[in-house]
């Protein structure tokens, strides 16, 4: 996909927002109340409160060191907050990432795709489908026996057969029998989204899905987000490409130095003095 000359506008420039507005009556699927996290003297997340509704895309933006990654880890369960509350579907988010996925319907992708490169795309996505059945010890033992006998696996029941292929097709992923080491970065990200979708989440966390992607990769993720919304999930989209996030999100939360400095309409956010200050620095007395 060689552009004639890289001086030309890349074709993926921000198109006008075409996301369907979420019904504001939808229930709140994620709520952060006064969340704090500090490492020694550094306050990585500083009294952040935000919420997310089903079918809504919340953009989370801000420069490096603004606290985005820490907030994502707090929600995902990789880190524990010092204070404040994070609740999903009304239940407090607690415990290991696996418990949060099981109890609160939380799924996520990773900035550097966490995909087993020696397995095929189908097998990697199958792990998502297998999530509910392998969530408990008894489930694992049942699947172990079914695996040996070669029959009786809940995951491979007729209803599930073809589920992986359907989600892959919906995301535009072709030939999922290829080993993931042969896939492009954009395709790997689609595998992660597919794996996450197959756990039937209520909330999807996308961590810098555009980083290092070419225009084709970016387009792939844009259509993937539409597919996620068709599944009724809420999406938290974390990325540096503010222009693309603005074109996809219903709302944007701007973080700077650990604090939420803006939360509202994407267009308003782009034109806001806070965004101006964060991305262009205070006007110097030239």
């Amino acid at each position: 996909m060689a552009e004639p000359s890289n001086m030309a506008e890349p074709s993926n420039m921000a198109e006008p927002s075409n996301m369907a507005e979420p019904s504001n009556m939808a229930d709140v699927i994620l709520e952060c109340r006064g969340v704090n996290k500090a490492y020694g003297a550094v306050r990585a997340v500083n009294d952040v409160s935000l919420e997310l509704r089903a079918g809504e895309v919340l953009g989370l933006v801000g420069p490096n060191g603004a606290g985005k990654t820490t907030l994502v880890d707090l929600i995902g369960g990789e880190q524990r907050p010092d204070s404040g509350a994070i609740t999903a579907l009304g239940r407090p988010l607690a415990g290991a990432p696996s418990r949060r996925a099981r109890v609160n319907g939380l799924a996520r992708t990773f900035q550097h795709p966490q995909v087993a490169l020696d397995l095929t795309a189908r097998e990697n996505m199958l792990v998502g489908l297998a999530g509910p059945s392998l969530a408990t010890l008894s489930g694992q033992l049942r699947e172990l026996a079914a695996g040996i006998v070669g029959a009786g696996s809940r995951i491979e029941r007729d209803a599930a057969r073809g589920e992986v292929e359907r989600v892959a097709a919906a995301l535009g992923l072709k030939d999922i029998e290829r080993e993931c080491r042969e896939l492009t970065l954009g395709e790997l990200r689609l595998v992660e989204v597919g794996r996450a979708l197959l756990t039937r989440p209520a909330l999807m966390l996308l961590d810098e899905p555009f980083a290092g992607s070419d225009a084709h990769g970016v387009a792939g993720i844009r259509s993937a987000i539409a597919e996620i919304l068709r599944n009724g999930c809420g999406v938290i989209l974390v990325d540096h490409n503010v222009d693309i996030v603005a074109s996809l999100a219903h709302r944007i939360a701007l973080l700077n130095l650990g604090a939420k400095v803006f939360d509202g309409d994407p267009k308003a956010c782009l034109a806001s003095p806070e965004m101006q200050a964060v991305y262009f620095g205070e006007r110097e007395a030239a």
Partner: protein, 324 residues
């Protein structure tokens, strides 16, 4: 997840090979002894296949699980009149419990730390075998084990060999099926993307403990077999260097299928005991072969054999690709 006709090729071909092996060794006491030793090693290597080759958890206490299987049989044989067949489930249970407890105690460890602690456990186990005179018969081990009874008559060596080769075939086939089942896929995904498996709601620590337990149980069967075949056991037979041999079997044989572990066992016994040419240098040649495979040919012997067969198969079938 099977691909039509080809699902039956694997069991049929491997069963045929197993039967061929039975026929080849039948009647010659020396070959039968070599076959029994190979099967013992195969059981340990197959026991490591699930947690280590598939799951990536290099726990190195497999000499202990082998020892548990062997001493369980020896104690039942020597100190009770139960049918020796009971030693299999008992040995497997104790080995699985040991593996799960050790796995739980080391759940936060990985890589070098996990390898070091489990190796130390293996060394401590061998020391305990010599130290706990009352239980294990100390350095003299346990001698004169009674011959098991099978279908009314004492089990002859030839029958034992056939049953054992069949058992290895069953375990390897079961693991091969398991490898492609959802459970197996989750374990294989854990090796390089544990965070992703965790984020799908699957507690990785439980997955590891289940794998370790099953692996230890399979290895303990090898121990029971070893005790029956030799009618006596000594602590030295369960020293830690056995573990090194067994780690390298699936690597040399081929990681992509459990049959690689069985082939690895055959290669090890051939290098270290069988060929007079190697005599003293057997293990050295084997260890250098392992290094060569690790650096240059990671798919191992079986891996490249299968690639060759596939090319051949594709060649004859006019280029239509077939996934084995």
């Amino acid at each position: 997840m099977r691909q039509g006709g080809s699902a039956w090729v694997e069991p049929i071909v491997t069963l045929a090979l197993a039967i061929a092996a039975m026929a080849a060794v039948h009647g010659s006491p020396y070959l039968e002894a070599v076959a029994l030793l190979t099967c013992t090693y195969a059981f340990i290597a197959l026991g490591m296949y699930l947690p280590f080759i598939m799951g990536g958890a290099l726990s190195m206490a497999y000499n202990a699980y082998l020892g548990v299987g062997a001493y369980a049989l020896a104690l039942i044989a020597g100190r009770s009149d139960w049918d020796l067949a009971w030693s299999l489930p008992i040995g497997m249970l104790i080995a699985a419990a040991t593996a799960v407890l050790l796995g739980f105690a080391t759940r936060r460890l990985s890589g070098f730390y996990l390898a070091a602690v489990t190796l130390l456990f293996g060394i401590a186990f061998t020391t305990w075998l010599v130290d706990a005179e009352s239980v294990t018969g100390g350095s003299g081990g346990l001698q004169g084990l009674r011959v098991p009874v099978f279908a009314g008559r004492p089990l002859s060596n030839s029958t034992l060999v056939m049953l054992t080769i069949l058992a290895v075939w069953i375990v390897a086939l079961a693991l091969s099926r398991l490898r492609n089942s959802p459970f197996g896929v989750a374990v294989r995904a854990r090796r390089r993307a544990a965070i992703a498996v965790e984020s799908c709601g699957i507690p990785v620590s439980t997955l590891t403990l289940v794998s370790l337990g099953l692996g230890a149980a399979v290895s303990s069967v090898g121990g029971s077999l070893f005790a029956v075949a030799n009618h006596a056991i000594l602590p030295e037979s369960f020293a830690v260097d056995l573990v090194f041999l067994c780690i390298f079997m699936p690597l040399l044989g081929g990681q992509d299928r459990p049959w690689g572990a069985v082939l690895g066992a055959i290669l090890v016994v051939t290098f270290t005991f069988q060929l007079t040419f190697f005599k003293e240098t057997g293990s050295l040649f084997f260890s250098l072969a392992v290094l060569l495979v690790l650096v240059i040919a990671p798919r191992g012997v079986l891996g490249y054999v299968l690639i060759g067969l596939q090319k051949l198969w594709k060649g004859t079938r006019g280029g239509e690709t077939r996934h084995g």
